[in-house]
Amino acid sequence: MKAAFVRLRALMRKEAVQIARDPSALAIAFLLPAALLFIFGYGVSLDARNVPLAIVVERPDALTASFTSQFAHSAYLRPQPYRDIQRAERAMVANRVDGIVWLRSDFTRRALSQGGAPIGVIVNGVDANTARIVEGYVQQVWAAWIATHRLAVGRPALLPLALEPQVRFNRAVSSRDFLIPGLIAVIMTLTGALLTALVIAREWERGTMEALMVTRVRMWEILLAKLVPYFLLGMGGMAVSVAIAVFLFGVPLHGSMLVLTATSALFMLAALGMGLLISGVARNQFIAGQIAIIVAFLPAYILSGFVFDINSMPWPVRIVTHVVAARYFVAILQSVFLAGDIWSVILPNAAALALMALIFLGLARANAHKRLD
């Protein structure tokens, strides 16, 4: 037993020295998470802000002026006056504006006489996300205008007055606060599955695995010696990501550190299990990297609910998401960051993570032979 401990310690010390000397491992563990966080924190945003919007008023007067002035107050829209609809449409084709609000020449007459004047709203549906947001914003602006107009004029409004959007959990309705917790799951997949698969493939490539196998070392010792250092490295990467999220981007952390750490550890084990499993199949770094990206990184990105809502996926895809460990972790992270320790969310998801960690690590162990074939 003492001999096994000596071997284990030697292998872990070797791994630590290699990590310390190899800048690429440290870069994947610490630099890449920071870079991803900065990209998502500053660059990518699903919020519409300063959306250019064409305003076409065919016959300007006091009423149309009071309506269009509402748009200028909006933080989300940047209204640009156009003289006629043809020019506005050309501007939309040229992608200079994302939407058009069109008040026809009979707007004021119909609004005052018939009590109902159509407002043309045209949105560019190429970017469906922005289109829907523009549509929603225009409706809100309109509703707000009708409410104030009614107060001013004393006439009944045609739209329901109770159009009052409510936002829960992500109180600032900031996509950043929603994306960054999910991103932590992606980042940990990177260290757990990708980095681990790569470093083991490197041992195969350089022939050191072959040399290790012809010593007294046992296979479980080799696996454990990879698991422990990269577990610590992954948790370190996670700590850095959480620190950047909370202190730099001001993402709220409503839940407890303890829950966050414990569930992260479970997810890290599942990711490492995947990494070990991949390394059993792929014996060069290129293939290991490709497999890790396809089976671990991309699903964590696309199928975890981190960017794309799982509920709006077609049902076959929804079923597939159940085998993506990141799905459970993203649910936990979003709850812990934005809502708090909601046990009804955390417990079932943590149980799923534990099960996946067990399965992956078990398969990795069963798959590892001290042989080359």
Partner: protein
């Protein structure tokens, strides 16, 4: 622990079979090998690349399982208890199994821990191994920054920390210069003599066979023979001669090789070494009247003679005669320098990789650039190809100054890389078509050249085979055909025949000789001494400088002394390197 009996062989193989699946095909790596290795001796596992040496090593180390048959290592059945075998043996895989980002000391510590070397004996063991390998002053150096020879010795030291009863060395001398090779053999001799270690040593270099106590000769997964090297050599007693005549040595060799009663004919210096089928000299009359002054003097047989004789028996058919190399052979122009290099220097920052090298190569000459790894051969080669600009000096290839006309110069050059830069997933036909297109051949011209290559290199039956599946000798032929598609005046060869079997090597050099006779200038870089023998002239380099230049014969003659009345090329090379090292020490 099961007690291993101290009698009986250290290793016993009984009808060992091993097949691999390669795509849809089944490749037989080992076909019923039965052999044994005696305790305390060095047994050589000898054969060309692809013979099955590494597979056999891995089977013995318990890293692979045999399909059938039985392997007993030190009295233990490997299939039953691989761990017991693994804790008793030392194994150095082909790339030495070192962690390149750990220091020498850290590598030793790691393997000492893994092998369970007790802490109290380590200091003494380290001191002994570091002394033996000459690594004492490098313990803090990162293993990746050691030279090839030093890595090899560190890899060996790591396997010896817990003295193994059986030491498996898988091609330890590949890519290692002759000086390090000799030092490795000194360590092995010491191990078997003083520590009674059994050593199994695999190699593709036939000259290493004679240093082993016993030899297992492997070819295509079959055992061609086993026994003491002298047993192999003695079989050929009376069959080997030096032949000379008043004709060119290449012409003489060509004539002799074509005779049915000749097993082997290779150029050695100014003469041709001949192995005859019958133990008698050849009849001069059989060579015809043009060959005047034909004489044969007996010479002691070599291990290689026996291997070639055995291969001729198993080979399907004798190699067919070869026609002229290029389609349009230029008329030989006398003594025109096709490659002229003056004062060539290349600096990488403060490091001078090539230092004031000058030489010139005439049309139709075969010129060799010899040196250990890091001697500056590859850098010189890259500058000659116009891939790297020289820092100083003049460089003219085929009449073009490479400093301002690299592209037209390159069009005159055919290049064959060390591991044959073929597209493994393309068929033979597709490779030919691709390489000819790269050289801007199209239409009828391209078809003509491809037909020429197919006829000339006998690739017809293999046209639709994938390059990956070709035997090494075929790959080599295809690579040469690809390099010749654009009818270059100059052919660059980078270690063209290391690892291929002796018959394929002879055939390859016969083609090269014909090309040279047709006026193609050939430049070879190698650290493989056998290839040096085929050159007209040689240049030996070390640390970026030219140590000596001349014909192989002259270089060997310079190394002649009382101890070495007839030095081999390798001995001459070591003498040149050592003389330079001594001169440097004296100067410093």
């Amino acid at each position: 622990m099961s007690a291993a009996p101290d009698t009986g062989p250290a290793l016993r193989l009984e009808a060992v079979w091993r097949r691999f699946r390669a795509g849809k095909r089944i490749v037989t790596a080992l076909a019923g090998i039965s052999a044994s290795a005696a305790r305390g001796r060095v047994t050589g596992l000898i054969g060309p690349d692809g013979a099955g040496k590494t597979t056999l090593m891995r089977l013995i180390a318990g890293l692979l399982r045999a399909d059938s048959g039985r392997i007993d290592v030190l009295g233990i059945d490997v299939a039953q208890d691989p761990l017991a075998v693994q804790s008793r043996i030392g194994y150095m895989p082909q790339r030495f199994g070192l962690y390149e980002d750990l220091s020498v000391r850290e590598n030793l510590d790691l393997y000492a821990d893994l092998q369970g070397v007790p802490q109290e004996v380590r200091a003494a063991r380290y001191a002994e191994l570091l002394h033996m390998t000459g690594l004492g002053t490098f313990t803090a150096r990162i293993a990746g920054r050691l030279s090839g020879g030093m890595k090899q010795k560190l890899g060996l030291a790591c396997t010896l920390l817990q003295p193994p009863q059986l030491l498996l060395l898988d091609e330890p001398t590949v890519g290692v210069d002759p000086v390090s090779r000799r030092e490795l053999w000194q360590i092995i001799d010491h191990l078997t003599r003083d520590a009674a270690t059994t050593v199994l040593f695999s190699t593709a270099y036939l000259d290493e066979a004679e240093r082993c106590d016993a030899v297992l000769l492997l070819h295509d997964g079959r055992l061609l023979g086993s026994g003491a090297p002298a047993h192999f050599t003695n079989e050929m007693a009376g069959h080997s001669f030096y032949a000379s005549a008043a004709v060119g040595r290449r012409h003489l060799q060509e004539r002799l090789a074509a005779m049915p009663e000749v097993i082997d004919a290779v150029i050695q210096g100014s003469r041709v070494r001949v192995v005859t089928a019958l133990a008698a000299p050849l009849d001069a009359a059989a060579l015809g009247p043009q060959v005047a002054d034909f004489a044969m003097t007996p010479t002691p047989p070599r291990f290689e003679d026996s291997f070639v004789a055995r291969l001729r028996k198993v080979a399907a058919s004798p190699p067919p005669p070869v026609g002229a190399g290029t389609a349009a052979a230029p008329a030989p122009v006398p003594a025109e320098a096709v490659i002229a290099v003056e004062n060539l220097t290349c600096d990488f920052g403060a490091f001078r990789a090539v230092d004031a090298v000058s030489f010139s190569v005439a049309r139709g000459e075969i010129f060799g650039l010899l040196g250990a790894n890091g001697a500056g051969k590859s850098t010189t080669f890259r500058m000659l190809c116009g891939l790297l600009p020289p820092s100083h000096g003049v460089l003219r290839v085929a009449g073009y100054d490479l400093r301002n006309a690299a592209a037209p110069a390159r069009r005159q050059i055919g290049y064959m890389a060390q591991k044959f830069s073929l597209y493994a997933d393309l068929s033979v036909r597709q490779n030919l078509r691709f390489f000819s297109s790269v050289y801007r051949l199209a239409g009828a011209q391209q078809r003509t050249r491809i037909d020429w290559a197919v006829a000339q290199f006998e690739l017809g039956e293999m046209l639709d085979a994938t390059a990956r599946d070709l035997a090494l000798g075929f790959k080599q032929r295809l690579a040469l055909a690809c390099a010749l598609m654009h009818e270059p005046q100059i052919l660059f060869l980078d270690e063209p025949t290391s690892g291929v079997d002796p018959l394929a090597r002879r055939e390859f050099w016969r083609r090269i000789n014909l090309l040279a006779a047709a006026g193609v200038t050939v430049l070879v870089t190698t650290h493989f001494m056998e290839e040096a023998e085929y050159c007209d002239r040689l240049l030996i380099m070390a640390q970026g400088r030219v140590l000596t230049a001349g014909t192989p014969e002259a270089i060997k003659a310079a190394a002649r002394n009382a101890e070495r009345p007839d030095p081999t090329m390798e001995e001459a090379f070591i003498a040149v390197i050592e003389a330079a090292a001594t001169a440097t020490t004296v100067a410093a």
